[in-house]
């Protein structure tokens, strides 16, 4: 019997984050053989026709022997992926209605990606932020580095605010080589400045994927009793009758998500919304599926 995706409730009971990531990735590998999509890889190999001025060292003589045409072949080292995980550790991520918080879910997701990429031989780095950058680990492909990274992910979320722009600009400053940026956050902050930061990331050649982690209670606003609602970050309170505002809340949240999705679509980034009730394998699967789309390309805009 083939195992199905693991229920997040069950998964979150595993205390060890590394183990959790491993469980997910191994389950994913076993499931992936059933998948109709064979040969997925984040590796990107490219043959390019020779043009005068190219270094002749990279000519593929075998292809030349077969087809009598000059093609350039990239080195293996060049195609290795450098991935940076950018994890939101603000206090809004500590909200959770299903027995675990968004922060735990996001950490598991990040660890899963780190482990998965590590297995593929790619370098993984981490940048944790709330209203400022809390931790930064450069992308490396070492087992000890993976451990440190998972340790940093286990740090509790303490931030009193969410500043989405500053960490991205720090990434632009620090990560010079093109790579993959995975931004995991609940994006519960104004989006006005985010587009500019994402644009800069794209302009630097980074491949950006946004994971929008949301609690089911946030999505459906499934409260019944009128209550004094307290903002987990600012402490501001508001007397709210959920029945009265539910419709408007969901409408405004959907508009927020739609704005984010539209922004990503415009900039050529990937956007995935992840309710914390959804198995993490699905996130991984969707991610890889999105990476494999033929139409996908990085747009580089001159609007900088």
């Amino acid at each position: 019997m083939t195992p199905g995706p693991i229920d997040p409730h069950v998964l979150m009971r595993i205390r060890n984050l590394e183990f959790r990531a491993r469980v997910v990735v191994e389950g994913f590998w076993s499931g992936i053989h059933r998948s109709p999509y064979h040969g997925f890889s984040v590796e990107f190999t490219e043959y390019r026709q020779y043009s005068p001025g190219d270094d002749p060292r990279y000519l593929d003589w075998r292809v030349f022997a077969r087809s009598d045409r000059y093609y350039l072949k990239r080195f293996e080292d060049e195609t290795n992926l450098r991935c940076h995980l950018i994890a939101d550790q603000s206090r809004s991520m500590t909200f959770g209605s299903a027995g675990y918080s968004k922060a735990e879910y996001a950490a598991t997701l990040a660890a899963t990606f780190a482990y998965f990429l590590h297995l593929q031989g790619d370098a993984v780095g981490l940048l944790a932020f709330d209203e400022q950058v809390r931790a930064y680990l450069p992308a490396r492909h070492r087992l000890a580095h993976l451990r440190r990274l998972i340790l940093a992910l286990e740090e509790p979320a303490r931030g009193r605010g969410t500043d989405l722009v500053t960490p991205l600009l720090r990434v632009v400053e620090m990560v010079r080589r093109r790579g993959l940026i995975l931004l995991i956050s609940d994006f519960l902050a104004p989006l006005e400045q985010l587009e500019r930061a994402l644009l800069q990331l794209g302009a630097c050649g980074h491949d950006v994927v946004l994971f929008h982690v949301l609690d089911p209670a946030e999505l459906a606003f499934s409260f019944d009793e009128p209550a004094m609602f307290e903002d987990i970050e600012s402490g501001r309170t508001l007397l709210v009758d959920p029945g009265a505002v539910r419709g408007e809340y969901t409408k405004r949240l959907e508009a927020h998500c739609a704005t984010l999705r539209e922004m990503c679509h415009r900039l050529g980034h990937d956007y995935l919304q992840l309710p914390t009730s959804q198995p993490i394998e699905f996130a991984l699967f969707d991610f890889l599926h999105a990476r494999d789309r033929p139409a996908r390309r990085i747009r580089r805009s001159a609007r900088l």
Binding site: E218, T237, L238, L239, A244, V245, R252
Partner: protein
């Protein structure tokens, strides 16, 4: 059950408050931590949910408390069967005053007034006593209380009506104050103490025109328990302009050949028409000469000079055209006759000699519009008769026997003698007269010249000079004087003294008359008096104080008494006064006043008296036909009774007072407050019990 303040029952609507609070229970007690309030807005709990009312008993108690409070504040009481039989119509004593002044001639006012009086007389009960009076300038009783009481009850109203139909509005002005005071005093004077239950009223039926005289009401203290009911008529809304003779300036010289009459044209404040025409007319009403067109804005007056047509044209009145009311559009204008004053001069000097006093005396009295002064001497032929009626006797020389007799005669008539002796001998001659024998004089001389140093400005003679602008006599220098001594004559007053203390002007009483003795006359040899600006006013002042030169009224108004001065030769003879429409009135020989000026017009006397012809016109106040301000009578203290609409208010107020009294006796609100407090106690206990029951064990421990 009734309520004293039923509006407080609206307070029961406040029961909505506890109901709302019970629906909105405990909303604020829960706190929910949420990731972000970014997409939330304040939404206080709505209360549309069903079946969410908890603690129904508590709610019921709280609603009951509010309801009871509202009920208590509304001051409930049980209406008792108070005997509310309407009071029997109290007997009343009424003076019905009917305005019959000239302004009642307008439109249908008189018919209205009679209808109103008729209607009012129909409401009279047999127990009432009524007197009916018509009034204009005077009050005329038509039916007295005695006549009323003497008649059978059924005939009284008919009798009063028959008396009312027999009269018509006259031409006199409206003395409303006089009529009201007379009526009030009539009512008050009938009995010292009014019988209990007897109501005393004055019922006034009038057009209440603004020209009604009300001055007498100021400060008048109305007798108690007399009230005034006003039956105001509804005058037609018309334009009215009026004519009035404006007095000529007193010092305007008579210019022969150019004669004008000054007319004041007044337009009523509510007038709609402002183009007025005035013109002369004759007795048949035919206009003579050109019309004078005037623009007189509403509420304003214009004074114009209307050229007098030649006497041959027969014009004797000025008519106005351009307004709606005819009753005051004719002004009878008699040419003003200057008063003829005679001054008897007793002296021997030549009137043409500028060094003698007579020369100056004749030139001082110029002819003016108001008076013509003629200086006569006894010797001149044709002046004997006039010398007898002289208002002033001037003696400037030693009087001979005949002159002394003339002086004595005039003094006996109460006339004034101005005595300016040229020498002490003249004084001695005058001192022979009885009563003046204490008068003596000697020649006095000034070192340089003398001045009038002390003048009694309180005396009527010098009163016109009392103003500091005119009181400077120091520019008149006196060269010679007679030192007069009249100390032996009682009540002699020195009206002026020289700066050396000697009397300059003595007032010596003599019989019924007086002698004004000048120590220094106005001959240039004596003084500069004749050349000074004070000379002419001083002579006129002497002339006026001697009883002559009384200003003749320009025109009389209806109801005025005209004083007729007969020729002394005909004293005691009967005088016939004839109006221009040939209706004559004989005046008794001894009467010197004509009072029958009831109709405007020209009146002539036969035989000729002074005045020989005079005009009687409508009182200008009667032309002010706008309405009196509504509260003018009340402002003047008249006890104006309230109209029926206000009587209903009074009844309602009385009912409210009665209710308040019943409620004050019952005081149900106290029991309601007690019940409210009891319920509040129960509610407090129940609320406490409910709260303790609802607390969780941990909350209870805290």
């Amino acid at each position: 059950m009734s309520f004293l303040a039923p509006l407080f029952l609206l307070g029961a609507l406040a029961v909505a408050l506890p109901i709302v609070l019970h629906l909105a229970r405990r909303t604020a007690r829960q706190r929910t931590v949420f990731s972000s309030l970014l997409f939330l807005r304040p939404a206080p709990p709505r209360l549309t949910r069903r079946n969410r009312i908890e603690h129904r008993l508590l709610l019921l108690l709280r609603c009951l408390v509010i309801g009871l409070l509202a009920f208590g504040f509304a001051r409930p009481f049980f209406r008792q069967n108070v005997s509310e039989t309407p009071p029997a119509a109290t007997p009343q004593r009424v003076v019905l005053l009917l305005d019959a002044s000239a302004s009642m001639r307008r439109g249908s006012l008189w018919t209205q007034a009679q209808d109103r009086a008729d209607r009012w007389l129909r409401q009279i009960s047999p127990r009432d006593q009524v007197a009916v009076c018509a009034f204009d300038r005077d009050i005329t009783p038509l039916v007295t209380f005695e006549q009323w009481s003497a008649l059978p009850a059924g005939d009284r109203a008919a009798f009063a009506r028959s008396r009312l139909t027999g009269i018509a509005p006259g031409w006199a002005s409206t003395a409303l104050d006089h009529a009201l005071i007379r009526a009030a005093e009539w009512l008050a004077g009938l009995d010292e103490q009014p019988a209990p239950g007897l109501r005393r009223r004055i019922v006034l039926i009038s057009d209440l025109q603004a020209g009604s005289r009300l001055n007498g009401l100021q400060g008048y203290e109305w007798p108690r328990e007399i009230d005034l009911s006003i039956e105001a008529l509804d005058p037609p809304a018309t334009s009215n302009a009026s004519l009035q003779l404006a007095p000529e300036p007193a010092d305007a010289p008579a210019t022969p050949g150019e004669s004008t009459v000054r007319i004041r044209v007044h337009n009523a404040p509510d007038a709609q028409r402002e183009q007025i025409e005035i013109a002369w007319a004759n007795a048949s009403g035919t206009r003579i000469g050109t019309n004078l067109a005037l623009y007189v804005p509403a509420g304003q007056s214009r004074v114009v000079s209307l050229p007098t047509p030649p006497p041959s044209a027969g014009a004797d009145r000025i008519v106005l055209r351009g307004d709606d009311e005819e009753f005051d559009n004719t002004l009878y204008a008699a040419p003003p006759e200057p008063a003829r004053v005679t001054v008897l001069y007793l002296g021997k000097d030549d009137p043409a000699d500028p060094s003698q006093p007579r020369y100056f005396l004749e030139r001082a009295f110029r002819e003016t519009r108001r008076q013509t002064v003629q200086v006569v001497v006894p010797a001149s032929p044709g002046t004997e008769a006039r010398a007898d009626t002289a208002s002033l006797v001037v003696v400037t020389d030693a009087p001979d026997e005949a002159q002394q007799e003339a002086v004595r005669t005039h003094l006996a008539r109460g006339m004034t003698v101005l005595f300016a002796p040229p020498d002490p001998a003249a004084v001695s001659a005058l001192a022979r007269l009885p009563g003046l024998d204490g008068l003596s004089a000697e020649e006095g001389r000034f070192a340089n010249y003398g001045l009038w140093g002390e003048i009694d400005f309180r005396h009527p003679l010098f009163a016109p000079f009392a103003d500091p602008r005119f009181s400077d006599f120091t520019r008149i220098h006196f060269w010679k004087y007679r030192r007069l001594d009249a100390s032996a004559i009682a009540e002699t007053r020195a009206l002026a003294r020289f700066d050396n203390g000697d009397p300059a002007l003595l007032e010596i009483p003599a019989g019924r008359g007086r002698v004004l003795a000048l120590a220094s006359g106005w001959r240039p040899a004596d003084s500069q008096l004749a050349l000074s600006t004070k000379f002419v006013p001083l002579l006129y002042s002497i002339l006026e104080s001697s009883g002559a030169a009384q200003p003749v009224p320009v025109s009389y108004v209806v109801g005025d008494r005209v004083r007729l001065s007969r020729d002394p030769a005909r004293t005691g003879a009967a005088v016939t006064v004839t109006r221009h429409d040939r209706t004559g009135t004989r005046v008794a020989g001894t009467a010197d006043e004509f009072a029958d000026t009831l109709v405007p017009g020209h009146y002539t006397t036969d035989p000729v008296t002074d005045p020989g012809r005079f005009a009687v016109n409508l009182d200008p106040a009667e032309s002010r036909t706008t309405l009196l301000p509504a509260d003018e009578l009340e402002r003047l203290g008249a006890p104006v009774a309230r109209p029926p609409a206000r009587a209903i208010e009074v009844a309602a107020r009385a009912a409210r007072l009665r209710d308040a009294e019943i409620e004050g006796r019952q005081k149900l609100w106290r029991w309601i407050i007690v019940a409210t407090l009891a319920i509040l106690g129960v509610e407090t206990w129940l609320a406490g019990w409910t709260m303790r029951r609802d607390l969780t064990p941990s909350e209870a421990l805290q």
